[in-house]
């Protein structure tokens, strides 16, 4: 199957009084029809900015797309007129945001917020739109949809707000759903339901999903493909199995190792990745992970590693994968099998 979305060498910067923040520094990936792509990475690494670039939601002032293309079904979204983009956004691509409170209108009843999009993009009359909105509320698991229809966002719990947002996003049967940390604020039984809901959409309607998450459990549950971002670049990409079972980048390995092991009875201290991501005002010339990496070599601080294909479709932007690099026995021993 072909690609629904192709993002090529995307670069996005913000101007701030402190200088230029290079939030996204040459990101490329694609999403096939009906595929779930997970985007994982440290907070601030540019996941949301990438999503906002696709949705054309970047702030007008102080922000610029320096380079790259975003092709959706053959159209470069960066060249699309505002009007055409608006139509596309209502009907073909929709987004569920990280933060349900700021993306719902606090002064508008939640039912009306769902019905609004249906009236605008599907041309249904008010009564039919209300019926469809109630259906959607029920589908996303809101109890008592009739009573909740007339409530305002602040009267709902965080989890319910997130489900309302998903209902808004699904109102027009989009081809691509961009979900930015959609289950971060939810407890696991509801998360399980929402992930099931999204899986269902993917399987029944063939909706492609770009799922931004920091939960590697969610990745295992949902994604066919994964990209791991760090400091505005893609450091590793491959299938979910490649990434979770055979990581080829020290950052990915570090993420996996910093999870608590709740199967053991002992309380061990967690192993975080020490330090913080580099300041994107002046990103390092070499590997952005070098300052936190246990395997850093001299070349790492000098030169940005290229993206090595370690096996079919599995890419790692790390010098350890250069055929000339010393074999790191530790790397294999440090966690997963590292094969």
């Amino acid at each position: 199957m072909g690609n629904l979305l192709e993002v090529e060498k995307l670069k996005v910067s913000f101007r701030s009084h402190g200088g230029e923040v290079q939030a996204v520094r040459g990101v490329s990936f694609h999403i096939e029809h009906g595929e779930v792509l997970a985007v994982v990475g440290e907070s601030g690494c540019g996941k949301s900015v990438t999503a906002q670039a696709i949705m054309k939601l970047l702030p007008k002032r102080g922000c610029s797309i320096k380079e790259g293309s975003i092709v959706f079904e053959g159209n470069d979204l960066l060249k699309l007129s505002a009007n055409k983009m608006k139509r596309l956004k209502g009907s073909q691509i929709s987004m569920v945001f990280q933060d349900p409170m700021t993306s719902l209108n606090p002064t508008m009843k939640i039912g009306h917020q769902i019905a609004e999009g249906i009236i605008k993009h599907k041309g249904l009359d008010k009564r039919k739109a209300k019926g469809r909105a109630l259906e959607l509320l029920k589908m996303v698991g809101i109890p008592n949809p009739e009573a909740r229809y007339d409530q305002y966002p602040h009267e709902l719990s965080g989890g319910m707000r997130q489900r309302v947002l998903i209902a808004v996003a699904l109102a027009c049967d989009p081809k691509l759903l961009i979900a930015d940390e959609p289950t971060t604020a939810l407890d696991v039984t509801i998360q399980a339901q929402i992930l099931d809901l999204m899986k269902d959409l993917q399987q029944k309607l063939g909706t492609s999903i770009m799922l931004i998450t920091h939960d590697l459990g969610v990745v295992a549950e949902m994604a066919q493909k994964v990209i791991v971002m760090y400091a505005g670049i893609v450091v590793e990409s491959g299938t979910a199995e490649d990434i979770l079972e055979h990581p080829k980048h020290p950052y990915t390995l570090g993420l996996l190792n910093s999870l608590p092991n709740y199967e053991t009875a002992e309380k061990e201290r967690l192993i975080p990745i020490e330090g913080t991501p580099p300041d994107l005002y002046a990103p390092p010339a070499g590997c952005p992970f070098a300052a936190r990496c246990n395997y850093a070599m001299e070349i790492c601080v000098q030169e940005m590693p290229e993206s090595f294909e370690t096996e079919n479709g599995h890419h790692s932007r790390c010098w350890l994968n250069d055929p000339r690099a010393p074999k790191v026995a530790e790397f294999a021993a440090a966690g997963r099998d590292g094969t």
């Binding site: 907070s43 700021t102 696991v188 920091h214 459990g217």
Partner: protein, 316 residues
């Protein structure tokens, strides 16, 4: 027996929705021991945040009692009340809504320091910088505004703000949910260090059960405004008694694609009921795979089923 720092007795918090009462927290009884971390998990809307907000004084309780270090919080005089507001701090669930967008980060953190006159001038600034570094940010960040930070960075600002006033008891409402895993581990280690160094007591609300188990000495499980189970965190994971806890534990997504790591999942049927008209008898009965006749007619008693292991279920 370790001394209880906070005792919660039959606490209720109802909200008016139209003409009806929404029982966000209903008859909750538990205590938090000095120096421990009590984890709190539960369905969204189960009342965890409302309970936390009521404890720190952001909500007026509808009924029941809160005793802090043995004293009824309702009977505190003005000075004691101010002190209570300092030593009991909250870290919020929503790092976007809880930071004033028009204030610089340094002033957000400094606000509490000023209000309680803890430091001024250079000492104040030094303290802010130390706090920023302690939570994994940089001293230069003091001069920036919240919108310049990503969600995770903002949550760390919230933690620094809470720590600024030297609290004793912190209600942390999903403090790490917005953080990615490597930083979660740092923050959890940080909270454990702070607890050890400063003798802090935590009520830790979260939905990531793996992290909750790791950080908590004991864990309470809430559903529709009530406590379902409360136990030592190891016991809760190895021998969950309540059917809701069992479902909850089975829903944890495992970060592995290998088949062996997939466990049998208990899928809860039906929708979570509305807290405006909760089910009669056991609140969980509409979704419980073990529901019996008695579950509809009688409210299960909150009892110590095993030593230090509490549950509200007719099965026991």
């Amino acid at each position: 027996m370790t001394e209880a720092m906070l005792e919660v007795e039959n606490l209720k918090k109802y909200f008016k929705v139209g003409k009806q009462a929404l029982k966000a927290v209903d008859e909750v009884t538990f205590s938090v021991k000095k120096g421990e971390t009590l984890g709190l998990v539960g369905e969204s809307g189960s009342g965890k945040s409302t309970l936390g907000r009521t404890i720190v004084g952001l909500n007026e309780p509808t009924g029941g009692k809160l005793l802090f270090e043995g004293k009824d919080v309702r009977n505190l005089n003005k000075k004691e009340r101010k002190n209570y507001n300092r030593i009991v701090q909250m870290i919020f669930q929503d790092p976007h809504a809880s930071l004033n967008p028009r204030m610089k980060v340094g002033d957000i953190i400094g606000e509490g320091i000023d209000a309680h006159r803890l430091a001024s001038g250079k000492e104040r600034m030094d303290r802010i910088c130390t706090l920023l570094e302690r939570v994994g940010l940089h001293a230069e960040h003091a001069k920036r505004y919240p919108h310049e930070f990503s969600g995770g960075q903002r949550q760390r600002i919230g933690i620094a703000r809470a720590l600024a006033v030297e609290p004793k008891f912190i209600v942390a409402d999903e403090p790490i949910s917005a953080l990615d895993v490597s930083i979660q581990a740092q923050v959890v280690n940080l909270m454990e260090d702070l607890q050890r160094d400063l003798g802090l007591t935590f009520l830790f609300i979260a939905h990531d059960l793996g992290m909750v188990k790791h950080i908590s000495d004991r864990i309470g499980v809430m559903y529709l405004g009530g406590f379902m189970e409360l136990a030592d965190s190891g016991d809760l994971f190895s021998e969950p008694l309540h059917p809701y806890t069992q479902a909850l534990l089975s829903a944890i997504p495992v970060p592995s694609t290998s088949k062996g790591s997939k466990r049998e999942r208990i899928i809860l049927k039906g929708d979570p009921p509305s807290p405006i008209s909760p089910p009669s008898g056991c609140r969980f009965r509409t979704r419980c795979p073990h529901a019996m006749d008695v579950c509809a007619s009688a409210v299960p008693e909150w009892k110590e089923v095993r030593p230090q292991h509490w549950a509200a279920c007719h099965l026991y």
